[in-house]
């Protein structure tokens, strides 16, 4: 908690004279004794406790305790940097003892926040940044840091990757929309000053005490090209002066599936299948009651038995179970003036909502800061994680859950003797294996073990007054060992030979930085800060993979491929990249009123073509603290007003290494018994590949009214990207198989972000009722403004000038062709078949948009895109006495999602009746259904079925409900602890206003924009896979400090 430390020092200096005053005894005084804590029950030191109107007062000690003599009937004002002040009245009694909780103030001006390569008082910040405090991070206990950021800041869009909820899955983070659509739009994570390349799941969120998100070009410029998608600065806990403080936090709870997919039950599926047959071979069956159905092999004997006994197996229910979450964190920190230390250990474990899925994480963290003599300070921090993930092949249609969705509801998973049928589920066209077979002992094993260490060290030396040298070094080493084994009789192998796979990956990331920092104030009004940097980053990974089958004994699993056959090795890689940077940043402020930041960074990237490797990225920002102007001095209602503007360019090199070189791909072949591995050109060299540039103009206003009881900021920005790096798929005649990564076109993003913090109710009593809110709303509009060679649309790549990246381009749905003479005649006039198994009657009807009297590719139009109209989050905190209650909600309005569940790839909505189907109200000749088409056994998917997959992505989600209780001191003391808080949290308990969920059989509309599961070749549509279904959880926890 750097900010607290700074704040404390400031307070002490400021109030020192008054402290002396308060020593003076006064006969007319009362004695006030108290303890100040934050909402987590942690004691706050250096809190100023003042007698209102006198300028006299004291401050709290390290235990948060103060003592004070105050006049009778006076008001005591309690304030601390970063917290909302509080006033308490005392009467005429001799003695007062109370404890008070201070609520955090997010927009407090003196709060010191972490920015790139330094810290800055909030009032001195010139760029667009969002900082998230420890308190906000603690409000919702989560498995990973990105979950903790959800709904916390404007412009930070965090959504589940392809809608995946399996244990250990990490969400996608987008800062201010999508720019390029290549390798990544992920922001850069910087942990304790050093870029972090590991998995976000390997960061223990409990070790994190502050997060700052840098959004505009000026704020991110100092990170150069790596900051192109925004920067998330993460500060981990470090020791502070004082006696050792031991903390323990732990929680346990359960996780359950958030509902079930609405699939057909036995009788519904029976009729559905009959209709599919009727439509496959018109004229063969007399109707649903034709007895032929039960004898001609349409239904398997097991299905017939199911029909006769009215069976309806709920396969999902058989697969789902309740997962368990547990978390333990223990830490100790403390220090002296010259040495501060902090140690912690953590354990987290979560089991999934179906067997085999598990995520476990062990983490150990240590940090030491040491003053060496007067001028030099050194420090080291080390984050170490070992994690185990089980059962992560979940996106595969072969995973047991996906098999469960498709399993036939008319049949039982068990035979007549009650034994599990370890075979294809009857009545699934031999494509669905009994999903429960995967859970038999020894059937499936899948484990990923990740070991990661992330160590950062610094040396800081004062070279001269105001001049500092700092060396930062960071080393990140990761090893990742993965193995899987699936026996013959599993959904994975479906009776074929057993299979195994081993994958190893080792990666190293090094960062070395040399910084010179000059900080000086001239003539009291001119503050200058200059930072110069030289840095080298290198990342290297080696990945090896072996796949094989026919393992001699199942018990060997993936541990000894020697006993397996057909060993193959593919997808091996060893990418390496380097970035060399030179950077300078100058800050100038005049009288704290006028602020200026100039940044210049030159990056050299190994990934770009020779001649294009280096580029310079400049940026500038100005800010005007209007509140300091005399003309606002009389406006007492206004407590803060600052205008900011910034402009800058950053580059993006987010392409994979070696893309400029081109590549061959392997192709195996044999000539009789001579086996060969051939190679052919699949990726053409692009020797002209250069940086993608994004220029951002950002204008912001920070404001505060009524002693900052209402505070916030508004940001307006415009980003223009040119030389966009995109993979472009080429027409087949080019002979080039893989998409060609190239600089092509321009995009633009515009947006508004609003952040508002309010103190709605603040009781004047020590622990009375209070209510605060945090609201953020953000709107982003992105579009392609230009494509190469004057092209205005590139359909294969889903690029349309004037549209966001990832537009949805398809036929326009009108309804269903009805069995009326009018519809038949119209269909025929459009060249559509109206007889036989290919008849369009009962099928999806799309519009002849271009009026060509045929349905042709010219009828495809842009139906929309996945960009929401707006998004936002709101957090409400209530507290009363020792209780606190927090509700975090977030939502998005507008935009389309692409539901893979409704698409061919999921096999859940094929209308073929080969296996179970979503319980849709399908068309029959008499029901006039105008949304869902008829079942048809003749086709694997309904024609134009893709138009059934686009849904309004609107939703409002209650992310968490958390109720806590901080035990009163009197009670806690008896336990020997200093503070103790217990809480219960429900995560993701409700989804509201989601048409996808409420109307169209979907479960959870939350999905990342860039998950690539969309229909477009380039992805970038909000595509929901059929994967581990969404979950909700309930946990109970305790935090204790000793």
């Amino acid at each position: 908690m750097k900010s607290l430390r700074y704040a404390g020092i400031l307070c002490t200096l400021f109030f020192l004279p008054h402290l002396l005053y308060s020593q003076d005894p006064n006969a007319n005084t009362v004695s006030v004794h108290g303890k100040i804590t934050n909402s987590n029950g942690e004691p706050l030191s250096f809190v100023s406790v003042m007698i209102k109107g006198t300028g006299k007062g004291t401050s709290t000690n390290a235990e948060g305790v103060f003592e004070l003599q105050a006049p009778r009937n006076s008001t005591i004002s309690i304030s601390a940097t970063g917290y909302i002040s509080k006033e308490i009245k005392v009467g005429a009694k001799e003695q007062y003892t109370f404890s008070a909780t201070l609520l955090e103030n997010k927009n407090e001006l003196n709060q010191v926040i972490v920015i790139g390569y330094g810290t800055r008082k909030r009032s001195d910040v010139t760029g667009a940044v969002t900082s998230i405090s420890e308190q906000a991070l603690r409000e919702v206990p989560v498995a990973n840091l990105s979950d903790a950021l959800k709904g916390q800041g404007a412009g930070i869009d965090i959504q589940k990757d392809a809608g995946n909820s399996k244990p250990g899955a990490s969400p996608k983070i987008l800062v201010r929309g999508t720019r390029s659509i290549n390798a990544s739009n992920d922001p850069l994570f910087v942990v304790d000053g050093i870029p972090y390349n590991g998995n976000i799941n390997d960061l223990n969120p409990d070790d994190v005490v502050a997060v700052t998100v840098l959004k505009d070009a000026s704020a991110t410029a100092i990170y150069g090209s790596r900051g192109a998608n925004g920067v998330v600065l993460v500060t981990t806990r470090r020791g502070r002066n004082g006696k050792p403080v031991i903390t323990y936090g732990g929680y346990a709870g359960f996780v359950k599936n958030f509902g079930q997919f609405d699939l057909m039950d036995g009788p519904t599926f029976r009729d559905f299948k009959k209709w599919a047959l009727i439509n496959q071979t018109p004229g063969v069956y007399s109707g649903l009651n034709d007895p032929k159905f039960l004898t001609d092999g349409t239904f398997t004997p097991e299905e017939v038995q199911g029909i006769n006994t009215n069976r309806s197996t709920d396969w999902q229910k058989l697969v789902f179970r309740t997962g368990i979450m547990t978390d333990h964190q223990i830490g100790v920190s403390g220090g002296t003036d010259i040495t501060q230390y902090s140690l912690s250990g953590g354990y987290y474990r979560e089991t999934g909502v179906y067997p085999g899925q598990r995520f476990e994480r062990y983490s150990v963290r240590a940090s030491v800061d040491q003053q060496l003599g007067k001028w030099v300070k050194v420090g080291i921090s080390s984050l170490n994680t070992y994690s185990i993930t089980n059962g992560e092949i979940a996106s595969d249609v072969n995973n047991p859950m996906a098999q469960g969705y498709r399993a036939n509801p008319l049949v039982s998973p068990y035979d007549s003797t009650g034994k599990l049928v370890n075979a294809y589920v009857p009545g699934t066209a031999n494509q669905v294996w009994n999903p429960l077979a995967n859970f038999l002992p020894g059937a499936a094993a899948e484990t990923r073990k990740r070991l990661g260490t992330f160590t950062t060290a610094y040396l800081e030396a004062s070279l001269a007054p105001g001049l500092k040298y700092r060396f930062n070094g960071g080393a990140e080493l990761r090893s990742d060992t993965y193995g899987n084994f699936f026996a013959k009789n599993t959904s994975y192998n479906q009776g074929a030979q057993n299979t195994g796979s081993n994958r190893y990956s080792f990666s190293t990331n090094f960062t070395l930085e040399n910084l010179l920092i000059y900080d000086k104030t001239f003539a009291q009004k001119h503050k200058i800060n200059f930072t110069a940097l030289y840095s080298l980053q290198e990342s290297q990974t080696q990945t090896t993979r072996f796949d094989y089958n026919n393992v001699l004994a199942d018990a060997l699993q993936y541990f000894n491929p020697q006993y397996a056959s057909n060993l193959q090795s593919s997808k091996n890689s060893s990418p390496k990249w380097d970035i060399i940077s030179y950077m300078g940043r100058a800050n100038y402020s005049f009288a704290d009123k006028y602020l200026l930041t100039l940044t210049m960074r030159s990056d050299g990237s190994s990934r770009l073509a020779p001649g294009n490797k280096y580029h310079v990225f400049p940026s500038a920002a100005v800010a005007w603290n209007m509140i300091q102007e005399p003309f606002l001095a009389s406006a007492t209602a206004v407590s803060n007003l600052k205008l900011r503007a910034s402009y800058g360019t950053v580059g993006n090199t987010a392409i994979d290494p070696y893309k400029t070189l081109g590549a061959l791909s392997a192709a195996t072949y044999n000539y009789g018994t001579v086996n060969t591995t051939g190679a052919y050109l699949t990726d053409v060299a692009n020797p002209n590949l250069t940086w993608e540039y994004t220029s951002t103009l950002n204008i912001g206003v920070d404001f505060g009214f009524l002693q900052n009881r209402i505070s916030g900021s508004v940001e307006v920005y415009q980003q223009k990207t040119h030389d966009l790096l995109l993979p472009q798929s080429l027409p087949a005649t080019s002979g080039i198989q893989n998409a060609n990564v190239t600089n092509i076109g321009k995009t633009e993003n515009k947006g508004i972000e609003l952040h508002l913090s309010t103190v709605n109710i603040q009781s004047s009593r020590s622990n009375g009722f209070s209510w605060t809110s945090d609201l953020n709303i953000f709107i982003n509009r992105g579009k392609i403004t230009q494509l190469a060679n004057g092209v205005t649309q590139d359909i294969n790549n889903n690029w349309f000038v004037g549209q966001p990246i990832g537009a949805i381009f398809d036929y326009k749905r009108v309804g269903i062709w009805q069995a009326t003479p009018g519809d038949t005649a119209l269909a025929q006039s459009l060249g559509l078949t109206t007889t036989g198994s290919g008849s369009v009657i009962g099928q999806i009807r799309v519009a002849d948009v271009n009026g060509s009297k045929t349905i042709d590719p010219g009828d495809r139009v842009i139906l929309g895109n996945s960009q929401p109209k707006f998004e936002g989050g709101i957090t409400n905190r209530f507290s009363y006495k020792g209780f606190d209650f927090t509700v975090v909600a977030f939502g998005r309005y507008g935009g389309l999602l692409v539901s893979r569940m409704h698409q061919s790839g999921s096999f859940m909505n094929t209308y073929q009746s080969n296996y179970n189907n979503l319980n849709i109200h399908y068309w029959t000749p008499t029901n006039g259904e105008n949304y869902y088409p008829k079942p048809n056994h003749a086709q694997t998917n309904p024609p134009n079925g893709s138009v059934l997959t686009y849904f309004d992505a609107t939703y409002l989600k209650i992310r968490s409900l958390s109720l806590g209780y901080t035990l009163p001191q009197s009670l806690v003391k008896r336990t020997g602890a200093k503070t103790m808080r217990v809480y219960a949290t429900a995560a993701n308990p409700f989804i509201l206003f989601s048409p996808y969920r409420n109307k169209y059989h979907g479960l959870d509309p939350e999905v990342s924009m860039q998950s690539g599961a969309g229909t477009g070749s380039s992805g970038n549509q909000a595509g929901i896979n059929v994967d581990t279904p969404p979950t909700w959880s309930m946990i109970f926890g305790i935090n204790v400090s000793l």
């Binding site: 027409p731 294969n796 056994h937």
Partner: protein, 571 residues
């Protein structure tokens, strides 16, 4: 610590880092092969292997199969077959994946061949023979890929050189230019390739002069039937074919005595085979990594297989295969073309009509009372048959409902053939796969000498030399009588000969061999024969729209610079 130490310290740290740095921005990948490798002797060899491997994407998967086998007079769509393309209904669109895939594969590997042909002449360290062979093999393969393109799509983009820069524009060359290019490639290839697949240690699957001559004969014959026809095409076709036939003995080639031996499992390098696309029991080299019937796997063993497994007494087995049920034969094929089954032995050698019980779990029992005419020994409540007995039989002639009822096994006369169950082409059956669901490990026979005979016969007939055609067609027919048929009775006379007869004979000899659609288009018979024999397509087929495949929509959508890519008529 004093200030004075700090400056040198920081300078030292800085100096230690700087010099190493600039080199760090140079990329030197080790886990990928860059295009430069292609221009080495090893790279060319690897490129040639890849150009061969490309054929697995054409022959083996469903795409090319759906485009050539189904939607013809020979086959209707099966229960799990395609519902648009092969039925010519409005579900068959320019976005059809079969069409799109084949188009893409051809251009992908043509570019590989172009690379070989452009680069081989100048690569240092390559001996003359290897260089000559690489060029000749690449030209054979390139001609082969272009021949597919020109037959399906007519005018197509003609890439004559290695494309190493991305392009988003493309134009179509007249069909005549493409044919000329193919003929030149094959002419060059014939001159340089080893003459026979069975001599000189030529590895199985390699291009040979014999294969190239056969292909060239077909190219001439096909061009003769197209709008790009040149004078002398028929003559060139039969001269090329007859040349090969006449030299076949000296090349160690010749028709198999027994028709059933041509496709016998394990006999894929027999004397009749001119060219195969290879597969192997070494599964790591057989096709898709997971051997799950995807990508370059050989699925021909699955595609004809009907739904025998859901019948009483039956379950899925490696012997009978995995029922993909993509096609079922038309009644015309089984009942008319193969009507003669005494002297012509090919019906029984082409089709499976009997399945033996392989599952005791669901053998049916005799009802009580027994049906009239039940066989002796039938007892009510007792099983109708035992493991290993006949479970399904298709006699090929009509039987009464009473006979069906009285039969021990499932008796299916032609009138009861349906899209789930009908006689099954066995040419590609593979009983030695690792698993009942696994793709085939058998090489696919693409070109064989019997077709050379029929090409010669057709070209002669079309050129007005029906009598001269007779020896070639009769050679095939006489062989079909082996062993118990009357050879002489198989012979036909010039009076019997007609285009229809030749097409029928091609069905008897070559049905299911991924060639029929080309035969019908070449002879201008596609529409008539679909209307007559294919119940799926007869109401839907439109001329000239369906005489060419649509240019894939992705090609049209992807041609974003230059002129728009033209679509074929009617699409």
């Amino acid at each position: 610590m004093k200030n004075v130490f700090i400056y040198p310290l920081s300078i030292l740290v800085a100096l230690a880092i700087f010099p190493a740095c600039q080199k760090k921005l140079v990329e030197s990948p080790q886990s990928i092969l860059t295009p430069a490798f292609f221009s080495t002797p090893q790279g060319l060899q690897a490129g040639l292997d890849a150009a061969y491997a490309g054929n697995r994407m054409v022959w083996g998967p469903q795409d090319f199969f759906n485009l050539t086998v189904a939607g013809t007079d020979e086959f209707n769509s099966g229960n799990d077959g395609d519902n648009g393309l092969v039925k010519y209904n409005s579900g068959y669109t320019t976005s059809n994946t079969n069409v799109t895939n084949v188009w893409g594969y051809c251009y992908r590997y043509i570019n590989t061949c172009n690379g070989l042909i452009d680069i081989a002449p100048t690569v240092a360290g390559l001996d003359t023979t290897t260089r000559k062979n690489i060029l000749a093999e690449a030209k054979f393969l390139r001609a082969n890929y272009y021949f597919i393109l020109v037959q399906f799509w007519g005018d197509v983009t003609l890439n004559q050189h290695f494309q190493t820069t991305p392009t988003t524009s493309a134009t179509r060359s007249p069909m005549g230019d493409v044919y000329k290019f193919i003929i030149q490639d094959l002419t060059d290839a014939i001159a340089a390739l080893p003459p026979s697949p069975l001599q000189g240690g030529v590895l199985p699957g390699k291009a040979t002069g014999a294969a190239a001559r056969h292909l060239l004969a077909r190219v001439y014959l096909t061009r003769a039937g197209s709008t790009a026809a040149q004078a002398g095409d028929y003559a060139n076709a039969y001269n090329t074919a007859i040349g090969l036939i006449n030299s076949s003995a000296s090349l160690g080639l010749g028709l198999q005595q027994d028709f059933s031996k041509v496709f016998a499992e394990g006999n894929e390098t027999n004397s009749e085979i001119l060219w195969t696309v290879q597969h192997t029991s070494t599964l790591a080299y057989n096709g898709s990594p997971a051997q799950n019937s995807s990508g370059p796997d050989n699925l021909y063993n699955h595609l004809f297989v009907p739904q025998y497994e859901s019948q009483p007494g039956m379950q899925r087995s490696t012997l009978y295969g995995r029922p993909y049920i993509r096609v079922v034969p038309t009644h015309w094929l089984t009942d008319t073309v193969f009507a003669e089954r005494v002297n012509d032995q090919r019906y029984n050698k082409t089709f499976q009509t009997m399945w033996l019980c392989n599952y005791a779990g669901n053998i049916p029992v005799w009802p009580n009372p027994l049906p009239a005419g039940a066989p002796a020994g039938a007892v009510p409540g007792q099983k109708k048959f035992a493991l290993g007995d006949t479970a399904i039989f298709m006699p090929g002639y009509n039987v009464t409902d009473a006979q069906i009822k009285a039969s021990r096994y499932l008796l299916i006369p032609p009138r009861n053939y349906n899209i789930r169950l009908a006689p099954t082409v066995t040419k590609y059956f593979d009983t030695k796969r690792s698993d009942m669901n696994a793709p085939s490990i058998r090489p696919i026979i693409v070109y064989r000498l019997a077709d050379t005979y029929l090409v010669a016969a057709e070209a002669l007939f079309m050129d007005g030399r029906a009598t001269d055609a007779l020896p070639y067609i009769n050679a095939i027919r006489e062989r079909a009588a082996y062993p118990s048929g009357n050879k002489a009775a198989m012979d036909v006379t010039a009076g019997n000969l007609s285009l229809n007869f030749i097409l029928d004979e091609r069905s008897r000899e070559l049905c299911g061999e991924t060639i029929r659609w080309f035969d019908l288009v070449r002879t201008g018979q596609l529409v008539q024969r679909i209307v007559l024999h294919n119940t799926d397509g007869q109401k839907n087929i439109i001329s000239p729209k369906h005489l060419l495949r649509p240019i894939p929509q992705t090609q049209i959508d992807g041609t974003i610079t230059g002129n728009p890519y033209p679509q074929n008529p009617g699409w």
